[in-house]
Amino acid sequence: MKRSAAEIVREYGPYPGVDAVHGVTYDGTHVWFASGDRLSAVDPASGKVARSIDVAAHAGTAFDGRHLFQIAEDRIQKIDAATGKVLGTIPAPGGGGDSGLAWAEGSLWVGQYRERKIHQVDPATGKVLRSIECKRFVTGVTWVDGELWHGTWEGEESDIRRIDPDNGKVLEQIDLPAGTMVTGLESDGADRFFCGGGERGNMRAVRRPRRA
């Protein structure tokens, strides 16, 4: 397993009126973050909030190219990114113990925090297709270049780790500085991760290690 210290490229926020960031996603232009009763889109260049949608937003956030998916209480809402309208909901696999959310390969991937699991879910029905056992409490989840990454927060420590989607084995680990929390995770498709900073109400960009 490769292990390294996180290189924090940039900090965003804290944003006024945001007491915690619960989920993060990226639509190719803006970084979206969930903060309880709102989704906000941030311009990653300026760090400014470009727009926001008032919607219950208690945990992970994902984007499928047209829709935002957002966990609220014990369900996953499908939201029209253009209008902000909630188009429908499916049950969340963790029944409310859900944390991170990602979209990839036609499925939703949902972290279940204290159960230390990631579930692959049918976005139409909410049916659990399979579950991956993880080693630590799971926060944010993201896929990039065929790699499954998730954030952890356990024992007051956070890291971002790449796991084998078949058996949950940890392949690579990026440690965040002590007391720095990862509460949402999204790749920009290139060499950056966007991470939610939890109670600090901020976000961070962390460099994704280069492939040899």
Binding site: D19, A59, G97, D98, R114, T139, E154
Partner: protein, 406 residues
């Protein structure tokens, strides 16, 4: 962190404990137990709240030190509200250290405020102030600022500093409104009533009238000779004679001051200061000795002149003599003062707060109960004492806030 926990914690913070319970009522994971505990406390079911918080602390893993510490702080606050003064303060101090160490400054401050409120309750304002000073001065959330304001005001009130108390309460009002926690706003409002309630009596030239806290403070700069029964001193502006360990001398000074400019007979001085029913020759001899000592102590402030019948006070550099006394001076005034917070107290908590034995407190309570000044409910160890309820008394419950955000 977890979806439903976030939703429930948000409901709790918005003052909706039932909404929080709805979301986690059927869950038994550690954060749910903790949330249910706090919701139960806000709903007034303290016994259930304590049980839930304790099982939550057990259910959090050994590596979740911060979460455990937060449960300890919540339990300590419930103990404070229940006037369970025997609850281990060391446990709270350890939890505060853990929170501080992990950068959870808001909850560390909350823990410190609970410690300070307890110290205030047991009459140790200096230690309460030191505890506040130890806390990180970084910006606190509004609810914590409000509680801090209450503690600062409490310290100021016990030191008879009305201006400081008012300033602290004004700050607390603004912070409580900003926090939008109704219980907190109510607590601050009722604390303010203290400033408009007589805090002392002024006795001068044989007559007396009630004084507000602010008026007491202004007395400090008056040019009069003041016999101050709160601090057991006689003073004129900056000149102070302290009688802390000399109750008999102080009683004599007070008797002379209350009667001034008239004289006080030897018999009256003997019965008032020595608690002797009849003055015999040995009492007269003792009075002569004590008056001699009083003269020495009062030298820069006043003379004590002998008259035919007794003695008279002759103040120096002023034409005014005042006595500052507590609003109620009865035998068990200190017990009543503690019960005046409107909370049910156990006799053992009263004993801790007064620094006396449980037996002494019990005798005082029994006497007060006979004259209907206090009432009790419950039996055995669960027995609690209150003064008959007065509308508008604070509940004392300040459980709030950022306890469970992660």
């Amino acid at each position: 962190m977890e979806s439903l926990i976030t939703a429930a914690a948000r409901a709790l913070e918005a003052g909706d404990p039932l909404g929080a319970l709805n979301r986690v009522a059927l869950r038994n994971d550690a954060p749910s137990l903790a949330l249910r505990g706090i919701a139960m406390a806000q709903l007034g079911d303290f016994a259930k709240a304590k049980r839930l918080l304790r099982s939550a602390a057990r259910a959090f893993g050994p590596r979740e030190a911060v979460a455990r510490a937060r449960c300890v702080v919540a339990e300590a606050e419930i103990a404070l509200v229940l006037r369970d003064l025997k609850w281990p303060v060391k446990t709270l101090a350890a939890a505060r250290a853990t929170l501080q160490q992990h950068g959870d400054l808001a909850n560390a401050a909350h823990a410190g405020h609970i410690e300070a409120r307890r110290l205030l309750l047991v009459g140790r304002p200096d230690e309460a102030e030191r505890t506040l000073a130890e806390l990180d001065a970084s910006p606190l959330p509004p609810a914590s600022q409000a509680v801090r304001g209450l503690v600062v005001a409490g310290i100021a009130i016990r030191r008879l500093k009305a201006g400081d108390a008012r300033a602290a309460l004004d700050l607390a009002t603004r912070a409580a409104r900003q926090a939008q926690i109704p219980a907190l706003v109510a607590e601050v409002d009722s604390a303010k009533l203290i400033l408009d309630t007589p805090a002392a009596r002024l006795i001068a030239r044989g007559s007396e009238h009630p004084l507000l806290l602010g008026e007491i403070e202004r007395l400090a700069i008056s040019a009069a000779l003041v016999v101050d029964t709160f601090h057991h001193v006689v003073r004129r502006q900056g000149v102070v004679a302290s009688f802390g360990t000399r109750p008999v001398l102080f009683a004599l000074a007070r008797l002379l001051a209350e009667a001034w400019p008239a004289e006080v007979s030897r018999e009256a001085l003997i019965s008032g200061a020595f608690r002797a029913k009849q003055a015999d020759e040995s009492h007269r001899a003792r009075l002569r000795v004590e008056i001699g000592r009083l003269r020495t102590k009062l030298k820069p402030l006043a003379d004590v002149s002998a008259t035919k019948q007794g003695f008279v006070l002759a103040p120096r550099k002023t034409r005014d003599v005042l006595v500052l006394a507590r609003p109620v001076e009865e035998k068990h005034a200190t017990v009543l003062a503690l019960l005046a917070d409107g909370e049910p107290w156990s006799s053992s908590a009263l004993a801790v707060a007064l620094g006396t034995s449980a037996r002494t407190v019990q005798r005082a309570l029994d006497e007060l109960a006979r004259s209907n000044k206090v009432q009790s409910f419950g039996n055995g160890r669960a027995r609690r004492w209150m003064i008959p309820p007065v509308p508008g008394f604070p509940t004392g419950l300040l459980l709030h806030g950022p306890l469970l955000k992660t």
